[in-house]
Amino acid sequence: MISPEEKRNIQEQLSQLFGSYKAEWLKEQMFDLFTEPSYFPELLTARPCLLIGGRGTGKTTVLKSLSYEGQFVLRGRDPKTIPAWKYYGIYYRVNTNRVTAFQGPELAPERWIRVFAHYFNLLICDATLRFLEWYYLHFPTSPPLPDVACTNVAKSLNLSDFKTLRELGDGVESALIEFEAYINNVADNPKVPLSIQGSPLDILFEGITNLPPFKGKHFFVLIDEYENFEDYQQQVINTLIKHCGQLYTFKIGVKELGWRRRTTLNENEQLISPADYVRVPVMEKLESAFEEFALKVCNDRISRVSSGQESNAKTRDIQTLLPNLSDEQEAELLDHTGVIQRNCIEQIGVTGIHSPEIQEMATLEKFFLCFWANDHSKPLQEVLTDRLANPSEWKMRYGNYKHALLFALRRGKAGIRKHYAGWNVFTQLACCNIRYILELVEQSLLLHLHSEKSITEPVSYVNQTLAAQAVGKKNLSELEGLSVHGAQLTKLLLGLGRVFQTLAADPSGHTPEVTQFHVLDAEGSLETNADVNKLLTAAVMHLALIRLTGNKPQDEADTREYDYMVHPIFSAFFVFSYRRKRKMLIGADDILALVSRPKATIRRILEKQNRLGDEPLPEQLRFFEQFYNADS
C-alpha cells in the first residue's frame, strides 16, 4: 500500500517529467530531458533543412536544442566549451499574432513584401546581436565586431550611423519600436526606412564570421512553426533560403502540409529538395526507429522518478511496466465470465466432434470457428472437419480474423469492449509522435497510482486501456482549439470515429479490420472537392487523420489522391483497430456532410457498408450522445 504523501510526490514528479508535453512549457528542463533523435546529424550540415512533422513530434525541442541557448545547457553550462562549438543557432518562432499584422488594404501587396522583409531583417539582426552580447559576456576580451561592420549593418538597415555593437543593438531595438508604431498607423503612410531583403543579414554574418572565434563556424537561423507565416511571407523566406549563401543557413520546423508556398518571390523559381534544402520528415525518419527512440525517452524519464519503494530507479523499464497482451489472452480477459467459452463449447459439442485438438484450442479460435460457420452459413460440423483436415490453411485464416474478432466479443456490452495495452501497442497508437507516447505513459502510471499500486508493479491491462481512452478523449477535446478549422475537425473526427467503431463491432459478412479510407471525388463539383481538400489538409496538419504514404502521388499537395486513417491515438476512445489494414471508399460529399449533418451521414456511410447505424455507443462516447442524435 502506498502512502498518500508518497502518491502525491510521485504524481507530481510524473507530471513534471511526462506531463509537460510542450517544449515551450518545459523551458530549460527541456534540455535536461533531451534525447537526440536518429535524424539529428542530418540537421548539422551547412545546408538548409526542412523539419516536417505534426504537433508533438519534437520539432521545437530539436530546433531549440540547436540554438546557442540550448547548446549551452546541453553542454553542461560550461562557457569554456563555447568557442569549440561547430555551429551557433539563432531561434525564432513565428508568432501568428505578429505576422498577421503584415497584411491589409492599406498597402499594395508589393509594398507589404518589402515591409515584411525589413521586419524580418530587424528581427534576425536583433536576435543575432543578442547572441553576440551573450558571447562577449562570457568572453569579454574576445575581438569585438569591428566598427565598420556595425556601421555597415546600420546603413544597410537604413538606420543612423551606429559605430559600436552596443549602439547598433540599441539602435535595432528602437528601430523595432518605431516600426511597431509604423504598423499600427500604416494607413497614415508615415515614412519608414526600409532595408533590402537579406542584405543586413549578409553584412552582419560576414562581419561575425570574419572574427577569429567564428572563422569556419556555421550559423543557423532556426525558424519554428513556419506554417504560421502568411503565404507571401513564406515566399519571402523561401527567397532567403534559396539565396542565403555560405555565411548562414536556415533550419525550418513546419507541420505537415504547412509549407504552402514552394516558390521564392519569383513565381518561376521553386525550392527543390535535395538541390536547395534537405527534407527531414520526422515521421518517415523515425518510423523504424521510433520504438527505440521512445523507449530511451521514457526510460530516461521514469528513472528520474524517485520513490521510497525502490532502491535503484535507474533499472526501471517502461516495457516491463506496460505488459503486452496476446489476442488469445485478451479474449480470455474479455470473456471473464466465461459466457463465450461456454457457448462455443456447447455449439461444438452439438456437432459430435470431440477432437482433442479442438478441445484444447483457445477460446478465441473456437469463437472464430463458430463465427466462420455462422458467417458463411455452413454447418459447424463441416467447418470443424475442414479445420482438422487443413490446419495450415485455417491457421492463416484465423490469423487474418482473430484480432478483428476481439472487437466483436463484447459487442454492445457495458464496460471495456477492447483492451489497448502494452508498450508495443502504445507506440503504434502514438504513431511516431513523442508527445502522445508521453501522454499514454503518464496517464497509465497515474491511474495505476490511483489504484493504490506501486510504481514498481506492472500497470494492469484495464488501467492501460482506460489511459489510452483518456488520452484519445483529451486530444479530441483539444482539437477544437488547434486551428480555425477546429470545430469542423472535431465533428469530422466524431463522425469518422463512430463509423469505424461500428464497422469494427460488426465484422460478420464483411472484410475484417477496415481502418482506412480513400476519398472519392464529388463528380462535377469543384467547390466540394476544394472544400474537402481544405478539411483533409487541416485534419492531417492537426493530427485528426494520418495520410498514408503507400500510394504516394507525384504531387504532395494533391490531398485527395492519398489514403487516410483516423489517427490511431483515437482508436481506444472510439474502439476500433489501430492497425493499418483494409480500406473503404467515402465520397467527398459525405466527408463534408459528416461535419454538417453527422447523424444522417454516418447512417448513409454505414449502409453502404451493409451495417446499421444503431450500434449502442461505448460508455466513453455517451458524452457525445446528443451530438450523434442531432438531426441538424
Partner: protein
C-alpha cells in the same frame, strides 16, 4: 488627469426600452443579425437630435460607416482617420454601442476617442439567454460563433517585439467558448506557469460562470492538471 482616475460608473437598465441617449449626442453602433441589436434603436425616431452612426461593414482593418445618407470608410490602423471621425461628429458627448461591434472595431474606436478626449460612454446590451448548440461538443455548449477566424493583433495595438518569457503574464478573460482559450494558448504559447485566466463574477445569470468553467474545462485541465488554484478577487 489619467483616464483611470476618472471612473464612469455603470448604469444598468433592466429593460432596454428604458435607455435613452442624451439629446445632441452621437451614437455609434454596429449592425448585427442578432435580434437584440436593432431593439436598441427604438428611441431613434423620438430623439432626432441624436446623431446615429452605423458601422455597416467591419473588415479586418477598415470599416464603413453611415451617417444619414452618407457613407465613408475609415482605416482602423490610422490615428488620423480615427481622430477625424470623432471630430467630424461634432457632438458634446458620444456613445459607443459595442453590442454589435467586433473587438477589432470597438477597441481602436475607443482608444482614439480616449486620446481625443471625447466624452464617451460605452453601451452593451446583454442577452437574456443563449441558444444551446444542437451538436454540442466539449468546448461548444452554446450556439455562438460559427468558426474561429484566426488570431491577429487588434488594429493599432500590434506588438512586434519579442519579450523575455519571464516578464510575460498571460491573462485571458474567459467566455463560454473554450475553443477560443485553447486556440489562443496554442497560438500564443505563453509560459505555462504564468497564465491567469479570469472568470467574471457574478454572471449575467447565476449559472453562467459554471458554463464558463465547463466550456473551458479542457484547456484549464491542461494548464493546471493537479492543482486547483482558484482565487476570488474583488474587482472593486
Amino acid at each position: 488627469m489619467q483616464i483611470r482616475d476618472q471612473p464612469l460608473l455603470t448604469e444598468v437598465f433592466s429593460d432596454p426600452a428604458l435607455f435613452r441617449p442624451k439629446d445632441e449626442s452621437a451614437y455609434v453602433c454596429g449592425l448585427s443579425s442578432e435580434h437584440r441589436v436593432p431593439r436598441v434603436h427604438n428611441w431613434e425616431s423620438s430623439l432626432p437630435g441624436v446623431l446615429v452612426v452605423r458601422v455597416l461593414d467591419q473588415s479586418t482593418n477598415e470599416i464603413t460607416v453611415s451617417i444619414g445618407d452618407k457613407t465613408s470608410k475609415i482605416f482602423l490602423r490610422s490615428s488620423s482617420h480615427l481622430a477625424n471621425f470623432w471630430k467630424s461628429l461634432n457632438r458634446s458627448s458620444a456613445y459607443l454601442d459595442i453590442t454589435g461591434l467586433s473587438h477589432h472595431v470597438w477597441a481602436p474606436l475607443l482608444k482614439s476617442a480616449l486620446s481625443q478626449s471625447v466624452k464617451l460612454a460605452v453601451v452593451y446590451m446583454e442577452p437574456m439567454e443563449y441558444r444551446f448548440s444542437i451538436t454540442p461538443t466539449e468546448g461548444e455548449i452554446f450556439d455562438l460563433s460559427e468558426r474561429i477566424t484566426g488570431i491577429a493583433p487588434l488594429p493599432g495595438f500590434a506588438s512586434l517585439r519579442d519579450f523575455d518569457g519571464d516578464n510575460i503574464c498571460f491573462i485571458p478573460l474567459l467566455g463560454f467558448e473554450g475553443t477560443r482559450l485553447a486556440y489562443l494558448l496554442e497560438q500564443v504559447q505563453p509560459p505555462g506557469k504564468k497564465i491567469v485566466p479570469v472568470i467574471g463574477l457574478p454572471g449575467f445569470r447565476l449559472e453562467y460562470p459554471f458554463f464558463t468553467y465547463l466550456g473551458n474545462q479542457s484547456a484549464l485541465a491542461t494548464m493546471y492538471r493537479f492543482s486547483v488554484n482558484v482565487t476570488f478577487s474583488d474587482g472593486g
